[in-house]
Each structure stands twice: as C-alpha cells, then as structure tokens.
C-alpha cells in the first residue's frame, strides 16, 4: 500500500474507466503499460553532503544526501564499513503525511531501498574498512521526500543510487593505528548500479511506475531490483493482494528489461561511466 493511499477515494466512475482502459492496454494518463513517467535527476545540490541527488518521477520528488562518518564495525563483520539508509516522508510532501515517528510504510520504503543497495553490493564495504575491527567508514544515505505522486520506491531508490554514485569522500591514509585525512577526495567504491522497477497489478493488468491514482486502486505491488549484470538483487511484494505464478515470471522479465533502460538513463543524467 502506498503512503497516502488510504485517504484517496478515486471516484467509482474514474476507477471503472481506468480498468476498461487497462484491459485495452491503455492508462488514464495516456502512458503505455510499461512506460515510465519523465524521470529527472539532478546531482550535487547539497554542497555540505558528500553526494546528493534530487530525483523526480512524474510529480514525485525526493532529495537524497550522503554523509560519511567514522564508525566502529559490527563484531561479526570486522572488515566491513557501514551503510545506513534512512527515509523521511516529510509532512510537506502530502496532506496525508503527518509529522512524527516514521510510519510502517516509511519503514518498509527505507528497508527495501536499503536492501536494493546492500544486496546488489553496489558499495564495496570492504574498501571502507580503515583498521579491521576498530575503525571503518559509515555511509549514511538520508532521503527527504518532498512531493508524493506515486512510486516512491523507485524515486527514492534512484536518488540513493545517484547520490552514492556521484559522491566524493575524503581519502584516508592508514599507517598502523594512525589515520590521516589526505587532501584528496575520491569516489565511493562503486561496483554496480542497482535499479529497481516497481510494478502494480490492477485486475489482470501489470503496469510499471504506478502514479498516485493507480496506487489508490492497485491490487498488489512488486518491486524487483537488478544490478548492472542483469541479475536480480532485491525483491518486495506489497499490498493486500496477490500475483499469480505467471505474473511473477512476467514481472521478473519486465524488471530486467526496464531496469536496463533506466540504468542507462541514470548513468547519462549523472554523467557516470
């Protein structure tokens, strides 16, 4: 279920119309079933962050910022740096987003995005280790949601990926127990570019990038992320509805193909190799 879904009542007539159109392969907005809304990516606007990206998909709009701090590794992974993804659905973003502790929806959002980045091994955490068991770099990616018009999963995910891929961090030189910050700024150790594709089922139709109206009537949601090699690296089904086994297989293929497209787009817009 999308944030802000519950309170929205799409009038019955509009919903019937939506279903009719979908059965013919069309959407209310005129988009094709597998067509994304315009995607805009702007990087580097937050100078105080190591990396940042403002991403909009249609009217959904978020900003992600990357901060790097010194930290202590977890006891069971003494050679790995830390990665923390945190999402805040700000009250400015929708009349249904209240200030206060993160909702269940916001927690799911943050955790799914986190898994997409973590499990794809986008960032080589080993390279963020300075002194094994003692000092590592901790990478915080915070996302502020500014405007909600559906498909926050992908909007947030692209913002995190773009901010990480363009971040520049202080280089440290370690000799023994001594850590010295060099003048040099270097990129994060990026190994792959994960791209999530979020799909919705409305009656029998499978569409990508649902907008707020579509989220209000969708039966089920599926987000699948793929890495640069076209492997699937994270998945999350949501909403109180299901998919048939066949739809899951179809969704898997869509995720891989659309993922390739959007990855190229993201690379072009951020200027990364």
């Amino acid at each position: 279920m999308a944030i802000g879904r519950n309170p929205i009542v799409v009038e019955h007539i509009r919903k019937t119309r939506m279903t009719e159109l979908l059965s013919k392969g069309n959407r209310l907005s005129g988009r094709g079933l597998l067509e994304y809304r315009p995607i805009k990516i702007e990087t580097g606007l937050i100078e105080k962050a190591s990396g940042s990206a403002k991403v909009s998909i249609g009217n959904s709009q978020v900003i992600a910022g990357v901060k790097v701090e010194m930290g202590t590794p977890f006891p069971d992974t003494p050679n790995q740096g830390l990665l923390v993804v945190n999402t805040e659905v700000l009250p400015i973003s929708s009349r249904y987003a209240e200030p206060g502790p993160p909702s269940e929806d916001a927690i799911e959002l943050a955790r799914v995005v986190d898994r997409g980045i973590r499990e794809s091994k986008m960032i080589d955490l080993q390279k963020l280790c300075l002194i094994p068991g003692k000092k590592v770099l901790a990478v915080f990616i915070d996302v502020s949601v500014l405007d909600i018009d559906g498909n926050l999963f992908d909007t947030i995910s692209y913002a995190c990926t773009a901010a990480l891929a363009t971040a520049k961090i202080v280089q440290y030189e370690v000799s023994g127990e001594e850590i010295k910050a060099s003048e040099e700024k270097i990129p994060l150790p990026v190994k792959t570019i994960p791209i999530s594709i979020t799909m919705a089922r409305i009656h029998d139709a499978l569409i990508v990038d649902p907008d707020l109206e579509e989220e209000a009537v969708m039966d089920a949601r599926l987000t699948l992320a793929t890495d640069s090699d076209g492997n699937i690296c994270a998945g999350q089904k949501g909403c109180p509805g299901g998919f048939t086994v066949e739809q899951i297989m179809q969704a898997k293929d869509i995720a891989i193909e659309k993922g390739k497209e959007n990855r190229e787009l993201l690379k072009k817009m951020t200027g990364i190799a």
Binding site: C233, P240, G241, V245, M249
Partner: protein
Amino acid sequence: MTTLINEEGLRVDGRRIDQLRPFKLEVGVLRNADGSAYIEMGKNKIVAAVYGPKEVHPKHQTLPDKCLLRCRYHMSPFSTDTRKNPAPSRREIEISKILREALEPALILGDYPRTAIDVYIEVLQSDGGSRCASLTAAALALADAGINMRDLVVACAAGKIEGKIVLDLNDAEDKEGEADVPVAIMPNLNQVTLLQLDGTVTREEFKTAFELALQGCKTLYDAQRATLITKYFGKAEPPQQEAQESQESQEE
C-alpha cells in the same frame, strides 16, 4: 567460512538440497486467544494468536465496510543468539506489515464490518525462515479462530548457497548463503501473497528458487490441513508425523 554443502550433496544439518527441516504444527495451544497455533520448523519455535472479530480501539480506525486486520510479529529477547532488545525493531515492523498483507487476501473481511482482528505472532526461538513459519502458523490460528477464509496461506523459502538453489534455509545458510527468497501462496487460489528477495540471483536461478519454494509450500499445506482435520474431526494420527512421512516419501 565453513562448507555449506559437502561432497555428497548434503547440507550442514544433513538435509538434501530439496528437503525441508523437521517441523511440527499444533492448533489451540492457548486458552485466552480466540484462535492459536504453534509451529516448530527447524529451531524456530513460534506461537501465533488471534483475537477477534472484536470492537475497534482506537475507534477512528474503524472501517465501515470491512474488518480491520492488524498483525504484530515480535521476537522474545531470548529467541536469538545474542539477546534481542524487547522494543520492536524496524525489521519487526516491516515483517509485521508484509505478513499482514500476505494474510489479508485469504480473509473474507467484508463479513465483519466495523470490527478488528488482531494477529499476534511471538517468536520464542528464531532460526532461518522465521517469517515463513510465522505465516504458516498465523493462517492456522486464523482458521482455529473460526474466521471466514477463502484459502489457507502457507509459506516457505528457497535460497542460494554455494551456487546451488536449496529449499528452506536454516540460520547458518541464511547468514552465509548468497540469496534468500521467501514465498507465500494461497494454494487453491494460485495467488502469491508474499515474495521477497535478499541477495543476488540470475534470471534462471530466480525461477528455480521460486518453484522450489512453491514445492515446499505444498508439503506444509498438507500438514496444515491435516492439523486442522485432526483437531476438529479427531483423526487419530498426529498430523506432524503424517506431514513428515508424506514429505519423506515424496523425496525418496
């Protein structure tokens, strides 16, 4: 890192790659709850309780046309290797949400407008696959509470360890393996109501893992049904025995 699959193709706990861990199902294990169930799945020991349909508190959450379903997945502090803080973690909050969404399609909530049903799951001991075992137990507890259902929900994971797709990961395999794919289905309605993926798999591995998980679900579904039949129609044999036999015969 240890070897997870030996040269004979057996896993750390002696299972073949397509074999479930030993499991045990019970219903009606609590007195106060309207419905309850208990599952052991490997080292998982989980109790599920259902209260409702009942009045909604706080009132403003009342739905005029259907029942409000709520779900809480919680781990006891002693359930994990190192003590778990009793306050709900973000992980527990997320799992509570996806379990609720996985159960909801099976319930005929329109039959109980303006009421609430609470599903409480307590993990007394956790092992790999606790969310799947929780779902399987929660569906039993809902049936035990007499809630109108379209189908049961049953869940099982498959995963990838040392390059191989295997069924039903235990703790060690979950931690050191390459991927975990928990799946829940309503078997008679052919609806996948939970699907997650942690780790990396190829397009083909995804298909294989997904299908293997569905196969595990089928075995557990038979056990769920047997458990309910035994409870309500007094069939003599303990259902978990039957379940395990059917599973073994299937695998031989």
